[in-house]
């Protein structure tokens, strides 16, 4: 297969997958953008670290959803097993919340959107196995997110007035299980990948389907473009277009 044809194939596959994951109910679903930029450094063959800034939008790309700064470190325990830990400072634009009375029609409370920070810690284990040019990996990540207490505005329709509402500090544990397949195509610098990830608290809370490609230039500049479809309890399904850049040294 000629190089140009291979590229066209990859691009076509990517578009096809994107189209396949965009259901007809797109209008009812939301869409957003994920943009990330970071640096990573390999101390040796086993130990590496990284820093990343992430930006995420919602409301059909029009509203900031969150921004985050993260740092992580990973260590290759075995050739097929990597352990890691990380911390993220997340600044969330929490979406509005409108509740109704028991009759389902009369307003009860309205809490407009508000900004708040969250601290997220995680530890993970990633097992990977390569079959020829296809690498299959399973990542298990335990994540603890702490939301500090915050006083926010709330309009109580019963009282007919604004009041201060304290959203109390709360921690949340999530087990994230991700199964990923990567394809290293010979003489091609675009590596497609696909993954499915399940977030479990007491029950399955969030499922993410991702397809994308990675492109690395001179082993220093890594680019990533992907599509993510997310199904989360209590929230509209959301289609993300993502792109990322990592400077490796």
């Amino acid at each position: 297969m000629a190089r140009r044809e291979r590229k066209q194939l990859i691009a076509s596959l990517f578009l096809l997958l994107c189209t396949a994951f965009f259901p007809t109910s797109l209008i009812a679903d939301d869409a957003g953008l994920i943009v990330s930029a970071g640096i990573s450094h390999k101390f040796n063959k086993k130990l590496s670290t990284g820093f990343e800034f992430e930006f995420r939008s919602r409301n059909t790309f029009r509203t900031v959803d969150r921004m985050g700064l993260g740092a992580d470190v990973s260590y290759k325990v075995l050739p097929w097993l990597k352990a890691g830990a990380g911390y993220n400072l997340l600044i969330y634009n929490n979406a509005e919340k409108l509740t109704f009375q028991d009759d389902g029609v009369s307003y009860n409370n309205w809490r407009p959107s508000y900004w708040a920070i969250r601290h997220r810690f995680n530890v993970m284990l990633t097992a990977s196995h390569k079959i020829q040019r296809v690498e299959i990996s399973l990542r298990e990540r335990w994540q603890y997110t702490y939301r500090p207490s915050k006083i926010i505005d709330n309009f109580d329709f019963d009282e007919g007035m604004w009041e201060d509402y304290e959203e109390k500090g709360k921690g949340k544990n999530v087990l994230r299980s991700r199964l990923q397949v990567e394809w290293d195509i010979p003489r091609c610098k675009f590596d497609p990948f696909a993954s499915v990830e399940f977030h479990t608290t007491r029950e399955l809370d969030n499922t993410r389907f991702i397809v994308g490609v990675e492109h690395t230039l001179k082993k220093t500049h890594a680019f990533k473009a992907y599509y993510r479809y997310q199904v989360k309890n209590g929230e509209p399904n959301i289609h993300y277009l993502g792109m990322g850049y990592t400077f490796k040294f």
């Binding site: 953008l33 930006f55 939008s57 309009f155 007919g160």
Partner: protein
């Protein structure tokens, strides 16, 4: 490579810039504005009222004929003057005996119509009437407190005309604990088994601390000219078992007791004129009996049967938990006048409502306003009929107004 980096940065900046522009909150400004309405102001108002001339009914066939003190000749007069623990009785009428123990006076009236002129001051006195003859009590600057029960108590079943002498100010107060007599009721500071008809151009202040303020086990009629202020920390302010007719006058009522009503009418209530302001500040009363918990909400006006407003001004306010401006168990007809009901209480136990009607509301004239801060301003179990011709008919989450 530089181009890729450049375009990536431009794209990222554009995407982030675009995203930061739009807030995805629902536009609630107009909706919230409808909920942030302050209620019509209702405060006690003792100012004089310009009223239509009070023309007594002269047709003896009219059922209201006997409610007019002018239609009776009051040739027989007895004066009772209080002074501390002492009482001075002037005048005598055959068939009428007046006895006293200190300042506690008992009148046995077996005669015809008798006018009793009451004046003076006592901190431990009372006036009780027996006999099935209608009579008149002319309050002529009386200041009476009975620590043991009702200040004035009529055990007869006939009309008691309570006339407030022109320009006088009269005070009646009951005690926190009532000393009861077998087979006798005393339910308020001013109580009558028979009708009470209030008239005159004086002022009457009633302070109820043990039971109700002004109560009849029959009906009560209030005529133009009177100025009445009832303050109750115990039970209902103004109550009549068989109905209330307001033809005029200035009436201010405030209650703070749990479950108390500013005005309670067991029979039909008709408002033809005057200005009644009732403010109920009590919370819901909770009683436990035989392992059953019962709750009774306050109301500025509680009406067991038909309420008709033909004229005058009715201002009702409930500020306690679950308190209603008007709680009507039967139809309510507004044909004229001004009806304003406000509920500002909390809804911890009961729902506070401006107007709650178990049957139908018919508005054909006048002005109707109801407000509830924390619940429905108007709760009608039956139908609400608003006759055509109104100038304003506005229904908002907290306020409903109808104006003709």
């Amino acid at each position: 490579m530089k181009k890729i980096l450049y375009y990536s940065m431009v794209l990222t900046t554009m995407a982030m810039g675009m995203a930061s522009c739009v807030n995805d909150d629902t536009d609630m400004a107009d909706i919230i504005a409808q909920y942030q309405v302050e209620p019509a102001s209702i405060e006690l108002d003792f100012s004089a009222l310009v009223e239509k001339p009070d023309v007594p009914v002269t047709d003896e066939a009219d059922e209201a004929y006997n409610d007019y003190v002018e239609n009776t000749s009051w040739n027989q007069v007895i004066e009772i003057q209080y002074s501390g623990d002492m009482v001075t009785v002037t005048g005598s009428v055959p068939g009428v005996t007046v006895s006293n123990s200190g300042a506690h006076v008992v009148v046995m009236n077996m005669s015809g119509p008798v006018q009793f002129i009451v004046s003076g001051k006592t901190a431990d006195g009372s006036l009780k009437f027996y006999g099935d003859k209608r009579f008149q009590v002319l309050l002529n600057n009386i200041d009476m407190t009975n620590p043991h029960g009702a200040a004035i108590n009529n055990q007869g079943s006939k009309s008691m005309y309570v006339v407030l002498a022109d320009g006088t100010t009269n005070h009646l107060q009951d005690g926190q604990e009532y000393t009861m007599v077998d087979d006798e009721d005393q339910k308020a500071a001013l109580f009558s088994e028979g009708q009470i008809i209030l008239s005159g151009k004086g002022r009457l202040n009633i302070n109820a601390t043990g039971r109700g303020g002004l109560r009849s086990d029959d009906y009560i009629r209030v005529r133009p000219g009177v100025n009445i202020h009832i303050s109750s920390t115990a039970l209902d302010g103004l109550r009549a078992n068989d109905g209330i007719i307001l033809d005029g006058g200035v009436i201010n009522i405030e209650t703070t007791g749990t479950g108390a009503k500013g005005v309670r009418s067991g029979g039909p209530m008709t408002v033809n004129g005057g200005r009644l302001i009732a403010i109920s500040n009590g919370d819901t009363r909770i009683t436990d009996e035989n392992d059953l918990t019962d709750t009774t909400a306050c109301a500025a006006l509680y009406c067991d049967t038909l309420l008709t407003v033909n004229g005058g001004t009715l201002k009702l306010k409930a500020t306690g938990d679950g308190g209603k401006g008007l709680n009507a168990k039967w139809d309510v007809n507004i044909t004229g006048g001004q009806f304003i009901a406000v509920a500002t209480g909390t809804r911890d136990i009961k729902k506070p409502k401006g107007v709650k009607i178990d049957r139908n509301l018919n508005v054909t004239g006048g002005y109707f306003y109801t407000y509830s801060r924390r619940s429905d301003p108007l709760d009608v179990s039956g139908t609400t009929q608003v006759a055509p011709g109104y100038k304003d008919y506005s229904v908002k989450p907290k306020v409903i107004t109808i104006a003709y």
